[in-house]
């Protein structure tokens, strides 16, 4: 067994909100292997976004540890690229400038012309070849997220952290973006895949994209179970959703997600 790229151990995070301190995450432990796509799912308020801000280095935990490549995590780092739900891009820079600015952060010595070429290349990859000179406010939400993904990929970090990147996108475009991310991440098999931690509340999104799904339960956020996704790659949504295995797996996840609700309302496990 290889050592994990990201190792989270007994992570506890307290959130202070209006002078009340509450336990957002409690004793969360799981590992992410190099090149693995891991989704974190859970109901809203379960601390999944908090978990990601700890990984991003924006929020300091109260206890436990997070290690990347065996080294304790301190603050933000250039080995991690991030895509947020909103405002990943700077509104005063054109789409292309945003990507170039991102590239500059991870590749300090890269030449201007090289940077511009790389930015164009990734804009084309996400289908925004003509939108390079546009400002984010001139793009739809879906196009903004495409650009954010292009920037994260162009920065070529080993780890990608994605915090509900498609939650604010309409259903049709969400599916298109999921497929785009999937094909970009899977690649043609020649390059090493990036390590991804992807936060979502959409079960189908998590199944389609992930190797492994971490199910969190709320109040406080704890790991209910870590489930391996048993479907071969490359995956196709259209074929996947038709199979019985998919539905069985989906139901299993749903009941895991709803354990805490079932306990609270005093019923059996809920299977929808």
């Amino acid at each position: 067994m290889t050592t994990n790229k990201i190792e989270i151990k007994d992570l506890t995070v307290n959130y202070i909100d209006n002078k009340h301190s509450f336990n957002a995450l409690h004793d969360v432990s799981f590992g992410v292997q190099s090149g693995e796509f891991v989704s974190v799912i859970g109901a809203s308020g379960c601390g999944k976004s908090t978990l990601l801000s700890v990984l991003e280095g924006l929020y300091a935990p109260a206890g436990g540890s997070v290690q990347i490549d065996g080294k304790e995590l301190h603050g933000t780092g250039s080995e991690r690229g991030v895509v947020f739900q909103h405002y990943s891009l700077f509104p005063w820079m054109t789409t292309k400038k945003n990507i170039e600015f991102g590239i500059k952060q991870t590749h300090r010595n890269i030449k201007r012309r090289e940077r511009s070429k790389l930015a164009d290349e990734f804009l084309t990859k996400v289908g925004l070849a003509d939108a390079g000179s546009k400002y984010p406010s001139q793009l739809s939400g879906g196009m903004q997220q495409r650009a954010a993904i292009a920037r994260a990929l162009a920065m070529n970090t080993e780890i990608l952290l994605m915090d509900e990147p498609f939650s604010a996108i309409d259903p049709k475009n969400r599916i298109i973006l999921q497929e785009l991310l999937l094909s970009l991440w899977e690649g043609d098999g020649t390059e090493e895949r990036k390590t991804v931690v992807f936060v979502t509340h959409d079960i189908d999104e998590a199944i389609l994209l992930s190797d492994k799904i971490v199910v969190l339960t709320a109040h406080p956020g704890t790991v209910n179970e870590v489930v391996n996704v048993p479907f071969d790659r490359p995956r196709s949504r259209a074929e996947l959703v038709k199979t019985d295995e998919y539905n069985k797996f989906r139901n299993k996840l749903l009941s895991l997600l709803n354990t805490d609700i079932a306990e609270r309302i005093g019923g059996e496990e809920v299977v929808l």
Partner: protein, 306 residues
């Protein structure tokens, strides 16, 4: 735009009306320079026709035409009240042609004074912006929450800058430097306060996305916080600019030897009200021109906002 929309405008009727008014006999006993007024009106009309032929946006044409209509109407009423019917005292109220004549006569002197006034304003204003913006960024960013700096700024910016003039005169060697100093103070505090409030108001999400990119401290200040607070900074600059003109002209009327404020004060002391009114109009035009250019700069730098 159709030809009718381009050329069928009230402004042209007003132009003709203005010319017809000039056919009336003069009642004023003084020289009223009707020819100069007609030359001016014809030149303006030609410019409007040229603009009408080339302008692309209907909205912009409407703006130009409406302003021109106002000018023609004003000149018409002004001629009637002075040269044609002599309703107003012709010592205090010169005819429009006379003001135009005076402007042409004095244009060298006027341009020297404009240059002096603008030079002083620009020096004080730019110096203030160059010092206030980086300082505001730095202080606003280091003390992000509950900053005492906000209150201290409120105290200093509540002192009307004009009261610094006597102290400035005692402190500084030339009257010019006093003007620059006072304009500096008048611009510094609003720009500094605007920058700080801009920094404090930057969306946390924007700061987070900069942090996760691992930007350096100078990049954080000048490539993230600065553009994110630019709108507030411009708010402060606009305030500083408008106060600067008021202060400058006041200062020039107190003790300067040149500048537009001096021109107006000097000639009104001699009872030369033609030059006084010429000076007033020139100051108005200069201030409008500077404000217009500054707004252009602002909308260019903020073009990414919707």
């Amino acid at each position: 735009m159709t030809i009718a929309k381009r050329y069928l405008r009230v402004v042209h009727l007003l132009f003709i009306a203005l010319l017809l008014i000039q056919l009336l006999p003069d009642k004023s006993t003084k020289d009223v320079y009707t020819g100069k007024l007609i030359t001016f009106a014809v030149a303006a009309e030609i410019i409007i026709l040229i603009i009408s032929s080339f302008i692309k946006k209907e909205e912009s044409l409407k703006l130009v035409v409406d302003i021109a209509s106002f000018i023609f109407a004003l000149l018409g009423v002004w001629s009637l009240a002075t040269a044609k019917f002599n309703i107003l005292n012709d010592l205090l109220f010169p005819a429009p042609g006379k003001v135009i004549h005076q402007f042409v006569e004095d244009k060298d002197k006027i341009f020297i004074n404009i240059e002096s006034s603008l030079g002083t304003t620009i020096k004080g204003f730019l110096l203030a912006v160059i010092v206030a913006v980086p300082l505001g960024l730095f202080i606003g960013w280091s003390a992000r929450v509950g900053s005492a700096a906000t209150y201290i700024t409120k105290f200093f910016s509540s002192i009307p800058p004009i009261v610094y003039i006597p102290y400035g005169i005692a402190l500084l060697p030339t009257f010019k430097s006093v003007s620059v100093f006072v304009i500096f103070l008048a611009t510094f505090w609003p720009v500094f306060a605007g920058t700080m409030s801009g920094v404090l108001g930057v969306d946390k999400k924007i700061i987070d996305s900069a942090k996760v990119l691992n930007v350096s401290k100078p990049e954080m200040l000048f490539r993230v916080i600065l553009p994110a607070s630019l709108q507030q900074i411009f708010l402060g600059c606009n305030q500083g600019l408008s106060v600067s003109f008021i202060l400058l002209t006041s200062a020039e009327m107190i003790g300067a030897r040149d500048g537009m404020g001096y021109y107006v004060k000097y000639y009104s002391d001699f009872g030369d009200y033609t030059r006084t009114i010429t000076g007033l109009l020139v100051i108005g035009i200069v201030v409008i021109a500077v404000t217009f250019l500054f707004n252009k700069l602002q909308s260019h730098l903020l073009r990414w906002k919707r």
